[in-house]
């Protein structure tokens, strides 16, 4: 009886502890890689994965290209980004649930070249879009811009 009670408590603890983790393991994708050529990777939780067309992109992922790399991503809200060679960006925030939780888009360009076309998040709430570089914060009222970050 006593043992069984302990087991039940232990099981409850395990369930309580793992449930949020299971929720975190399957978040909604932010978008999908549509174009990739040359050396490209998605860095997720510190691990570099090959960035092939068809791969999903999630909030908090970084995208990187090498000297011959090129990468294009379409996000769930129809916004599009692309990286030229020797580039790195991080998707700090992506939320597109207009009817429930709201919208948000945060992208940091760490180095290299980025092209951006805004999507429905910028239309619904321009203030919810924030692009950042090491030297500037960009507010976007639509629609198309390009950025080069020079790092010494």
């Amino acid at each position: 009886m006593h043992t069984r009670g302990c087991c039940a408590v232990a099981l409850a603890l395990v369930v309580a502890w793992t449930s949020p983790a299971i929720g975190q393991q399957a978040p909604a994708a932010a978008g999908r890689i549509k174009i990739a050529s040359g050396a490209t990777s998605i860095v997720r939780q510190g691990v570099a994965l090959p960035a092939k067309p068809g791969e999903l992109v999630f909030e908090a992922d970084s995208l990187r290209t090498g000297g011959d790399g090129r990468l294009g991503v379409t996000l769930k809200d129809d916004s599009r980004i692309s990286l030229g060679p020797n580039s790195e960006v991080r998707l700090d925030r992506f939320l597109f649930a207009p009817a429930t939780d709201g919208v948000g888009f945060g992208l940091t360009i760490l180095r290299g070249l980025l092209a951006y076309i805004s999507g429905r998040i910028a239309k619904l709430s321009p203030d919810a879009v924030r692009l950042e570089t090491p030297s500037a914060i960009l507010g976007v009222r639509g629609t198309h811009l390009v950025i080069r970050v020079d790092t010494p």
Partner: protein, 211 residues
Amino acid sequence: MNGRRRVAWLLVVPALAVSCGGRRPVAVPAQPSGSLVVLLPDPDDGSVGRVSASNAAGAVELSAARDATRVATGQTPPAPAPLDAAEVTRIFGDALAGLPRAPRHFSLFFQFDSDELTDESRRLLPEIRTVIGEYVVPDVVVVGHTDTMGTNAGNYQLGLRRATIIRDLLVSGGLDASLVEVASHGEADPVVRTPDETREARNRRVEIEVK
């Protein structure tokens, strides 16, 4: 460069600097760190938006085609000036070439209280299939809608039936089912606002997003 190797470099570089008696181990380019920002016309409709560039020292606004500013760390962003089109291509050509195809949207309409397409909408299906085929890896979202005749619950189900039928038609045409999302908004998201219990052909539809 992976994260671990970068951490290793962070450790090695100061160590080299010390071991070389303060000599710099790597050349530092003359150009200080900064960001060149250029506003471009929308590639799909040609419209020109607006972008603000700011830092702790100030802010500027780009509002004309090819307006550019180069913001250096900690310095007031300079007033925007147009960048030559050829320069835009020279600097950003590689990045621009990687932009994915623009998303497309379609509406298909249905007969009253039915999951039968109108004849006109049925004739659109081949074109929609062709467009989807132009995307290397398409994402397709299919959302069913109804007019306000009938109950909310019944209309949710009708919207879902409409969307599922369209999904099945696209999948039978060769589209990978794992790339299609199906949803119903029932009568909650009309194109044309009407009172409850109103027949409205324009609200009896499935909307397809392809991206």
